[in-house]
Amino acid sequence: MTETEEKTGPPVTLIDPIDMTKLDPKFRNDISSMPNGEELSACFACSTCTAACPIANQWDYMPHQLIRMILLGMRDEVLSSKEIWECLTCFQCQERCPQKVRVTDIFFDCKNLAAEEGHVPENVLALGKTLVDKGQLYEVINDWEREDLDLEPEVPGLSIEGIQSILKSTRTGKLVEDGE
């Protein structure tokens, strides 16, 4: 017996669903095999992480939704999302997750994967470039402030060359190089 083409429910034309066959079911394994990603599958979507997050109400995807998207296999959406980069890494979500999902660590894993695939936001790249070029993120330029405090103008013992050369051989250096 073959099935007749029966339909139930509202007309499809109004809805544009995400086609599950186009997603990447291996994405969850990629993440759970990264450092501290093991508990990923334990997530039961309680949204405690989102309740704990100080910044999520500014986001399009909430932390619990990002975890859910990883589990569903929405690789491109997660790795190109701005949220994983805007995470403050305050660890509140991870601290409170009742299933011990290491949410913040998983977002780090996502950033690493995203970086490998070349999805790094411009502003983050710019920060990386500053670090590599200048060896520090916040340059002391207002010497008068130090003067007012009776301090010598140069920060004592600040050596940026070492940092620069280390950074050049890390992924940050590589990303900045590729970005140029």
Binding site: M1, T2, E5, K7, T8, G9, I18, M20, R28, R68
Partner: protein, 416 residues
């Protein structure tokens, strides 16, 4: 001499009550309207919470001959139990402590004391059926509506002359001291919830139908195949709360469907390697220790989607396209599945209301309600009337067995 106890329904609850009463020296009449005892549990494969075969529960293991077949010999061999299958209650009169019950005994086409399960009749006629090799009583059953030319031949040739096609319905009036209602539950046929296409689309089934498919003794010998064309099932989707927690059907939570759905999801993902399972739910209610099934299924990669189905559409290749609204993502998802399994509500069995009204009992959404709703004796349904197991509402086997034991203890106390 004291009158016997009548137990109505020979599922796990009724069987437990009967065997424990009998072991305590109380004469017990155990009736079931079907020709095979065991009730709903007969059709299930592995059981939570132990994942054992359904017929081996601790505490019954000491009983000879029943590992694998719980109470197998006890029901038939215990001299204090008078088992009557194909039997219904026709009328109840008398007073509590001395009820007069008219039993309607269906025609005994096959004498279980004679049938040796030789298989001759089932070979020559469609009307004979062996429900299960472990069925109790150990006999084939005969369905007169399916009768054919072979039936007469079977009657003539049955080596033990167990068949009597001209058997007729009889009546018997018994006097009993107490009545135990153990009539269980029925899985709702979800064709009324038409958005899922049950009854129209062959690959849409219920959890009980899935349990039979997973059972190695079942028709497909345990293989997970599409009913439409027998093709191997790769993607299974389960839908929770079909007809339960829905004021249009049953307002209550059927309580155990989350646990058995996850039990099935576990069996499929651990024993049927190539199959994927998705579960669409509103809440997952795995009470008590059963939370472990939820955790284990997540670890096993079962996909949980919180939301509801928008549409089900069958495709030419036999698959079903299922569109689901994911309320956590606020997005619609489209799945392609081979089998859609509905966790359908567990409803009171047919004619439960007649029994309630003939004994003047309280109804709890159609199930037997406690006589005194604020007392803790949920098994006490009335004066000398008790209920246990699924008859009180959806319950798992251990709970049904405990309630049956509570009933036995009440009856024994009453006889002291």
């Amino acid at each position: 001499m004291t009158d016997p106890v009548l137990v109505i329904g020979a599922g796990v609850a009724g069987m437990t009550a009967a065997v424990e009463l009998a072991d305590n020296g109380v004469k017990t009449i155990l009736i079931d309207r079907k020709s095979t005892i065991g009730g709903n549990a007969l059709e299930l494969y592995k059981a939570f919470p132990t994942d054992d075969c359904f017929y081996c529960f601790e505490g019954n293991r000491w009983r000879p001959g029943i590992r694998k077949c719980f109470y197998r010999s006890a029901m038939v061999d215990q001299p204090n139990i008078d088992l009557k299958t194909d039997t219904r209650v026709k009328g109840i009169s008398g007073t509590p402590g001395k009820f007069s019950v008219i039993l309607d005994l269906g025609p005994q086409y096959v004498d279980p004391k004679r049938c040796t399960l030789c298989g001759l009749c089932t070979n020559v006629s469609e009307a004979f059926l062996l429900a299960s090799p472990q069925c109790q009583p150990q006999a084939v059953s005969y369905d007169p509506e399916k009768t054919d030319d072979g039936a007469k031949k079977a009657e003539d040739e049955c080596p033990t002359q167990a068949i009597n096609l001209s058997a007729i319905q009889t009546e018997e009036t018994v006097t009993v001291s107490d009545i135990v209602i153990a009539t269980g539950y029925h899985e709702m046929k979800p064709s009324v919830v038409d958005e899922y296409g049950y009854g129209k689309l062959p690959n849409v089934i219920t959890q009980l139908e899935l349990a039979q498919m997973l059972d190695p003794n079942g028709e497909s010998a345990g293989a997970l195949v599409r009913p439409s064309d027998g093709a191997q099932v790769k993607n299974v989707m389960m839908i929770q709360c079909v007809g339960s927690r829905d004021e249009n059907y049953y307002p209550f939570c059927s309580k155990i469907c989350c646990v058995f759905a996850l039990k099935h999801a576990n069996i499929i993902s651990s024993e049927r390697n190539d199959s994927r399972v998705s579960v669409v739910y509103m809440d997952i209610r795995t009470y008590d220790q059963h939370e472990r099934y939820y955790r284990e299924t997540r670890d096993a990669g079962v996909e949980f989607v919180r939301g509801r189905v928008s549409r089900v559409e069958s495709q030419k290749d036999g698959t079903l396209d299922v569109h689901v609204y994911d309320s956590l993502l606020n997005r619609y998802l489209k799945f392609t599945v081979d089998l859609l399994v509905l966790s359908s509500a567990l409803e009171p069995p047919e004619a439960a209301d007649e029994l309630l009204s003939s004994l003047g009992l309280n109804s709890a959404s159609g199930y037997v309600g406690p006589a005194d709703p604020i007392s803790e004796n949920e098994v006490v349904a009335g004066e000398h009337v008790y209920a246990c197991g699924g008859a009180l509402g959806p319950a798992e086997v251990p709970e049904s067995v405990n309630q049956a034991r509570a009933v036995v203890s009440k009856i024994l106390q009453g006889r002291k």
